[in-house]
Amino acid sequence: MIAIVNYGSGNLAAISNIYKQMNIPHAIVKDPVALANATRYILPGVGHFDYTMRTIKKSGMFDALQENVIVKGKPLLGICIGMQVLANSSEEGDCSGLGWIPGRVRRIQAEERGVRLPHMGWNSISIGRDIMGLFKGVDETLGFYFLHSYYFDAVSTSSVLATTDYGGELVCGVTNMRNIFGLQFHPEKSHRNGVIVFRNFALI
C-alpha cells in the first residue's frame, strides 16, 4: 500500500486520484502507526521548507519514516518540496532537512542564468543513471510541469537522476540509487509522463 504522506501540503487528492484510476492500493496518511503499514511512501508538495520539516518532525512522522525508509529500505518518492526536504538543509529556511541525500537546496541563480523566477511551466528533462527504472517509458522532450524557485544542489553527481535546462543545467531529479527518489517537477500535473512515473514507482 502506497502511503501519500499528509503533512498539510498540496495535491494529495490529485495523486490519490491517479493511483485510484490505476487500481493501485494507496492511502493518504498522517498517523505514524498507519505509516508503518505502508510498503512505499510519497512525500508530496507545495510549500515552505521549514514548515514542511517542522510538520514532519512534530507529528512523529519523522521516526516512522526513518524506521521504514532508512532502516527497512522501503521506497520513497519526494515531489517538489518533498524532494527538497531530502537534503541536509535549504537556503529557504533554517531547519535542517532529512539529510537522506547529501546536498543543499539553493535558490535558482536567476540573474546569472538570465531567467525569471519561479521556474514555471513545461520543460524537457534529461535522464541520467536511472538504475531503478523510475523513468522507464517517459518522453524526455515532452518533459514535465515545473513550479519552483529553489533547486537541489547535490553533493555528488552520482545522486543526480535527472536534469533540466533553465538558463543552464539544473538538477531536477535525485536518488540514492536504491530506494529514495526526489523529483523537482510535478508528475501529478504532467499528464502521461507523470502517470508513467507514478506507475513505475509503484512497481519498484
Binding site: 495535491n11 487528492a13 490529485a14 486520484n17 519561479p118 501529478e188 500535473k189 499528464h191 507523470g194 502517470v195
Partner: protein
Amino acid sequence: MIKTKYFKDPKYVGDPINAVKIFNEKEVDELILLDIKAWEKGGPNYNLLEKIAVESRMPLCYGGGVTNPEQALRIINMGFEKVSISRAALSTPDIIGDIASKIGNQSVVVTLDVRKNPITSGYSVYSENGTKRMQLDLIDACRTVIKKGAGELVVNSIDQEGEMKGYDLVLAKMVSTEVSIPITFIGGAGKTADMAKLINEVGVVGAGAGSMFVFKGPFRAVLISYSRP
C-alpha cells in the same frame, strides 16, 4: 459550461468535469476555467473547483468572482496553479498586489477583455462580461496591472471571439511590444495554423483557444477535441 460568440449567444457545451477528463486525455498544456456567472452567484464554486483539481492532470488557472486574497489562496491550496482576476483588477487595481503577496506574483493572472475602439484605433477594455466599457485604453491598463504586480496577462479579443478566423495580430503585436511579462492571447483561433502564425509574428506567447477545441464544422457541432500543435 458554455461557449459564446462575441460574448453573446451562450451555447451549452457540456459538463466541466467531463471536459477536464477529455482535456486530460488530449494532454492539454494548461487549462483556464473562467466562471462568468461567479459574480452574480457571490463567488467561486469551491465544490466544483475541488472536483476539477482532483481530476486534472495538467496545470490549472481559475477566474471568476475573485475579489480578495483569501479566496485566491483557497483556490491555490485546492491544487490550482494560478488565479485570474478581471473585474476586480480594473475596479481596484491594488487588489492585484494584495493577492500576489498571498499566492506569489507568478500565480496572479489579469484577464483583459478588449474591443477595437473605432475612434482612437486603439483598443478599449471592457468589464462585466463585455458589457461595461472602461474609460481605459488597453496599453494603459496593461501598464497599470503590471505595476501593481500581475505575473501574467491574458488578453481576450471580444471582436474575434467565436469567429475562428484567426487571432487579431495587430492587437497581439501591440501588446507584446509593450509588455514584458508572460502573455496569452485568446479570441479567434480556428485552427492550429492560427496559433503558429501568432507565435511566428509575435514570438513566445501563450496561444489560448476555446471554440477551436469545442466546436467542429460549419454548424458548430459540439465536439471537444485538441491536436498537439
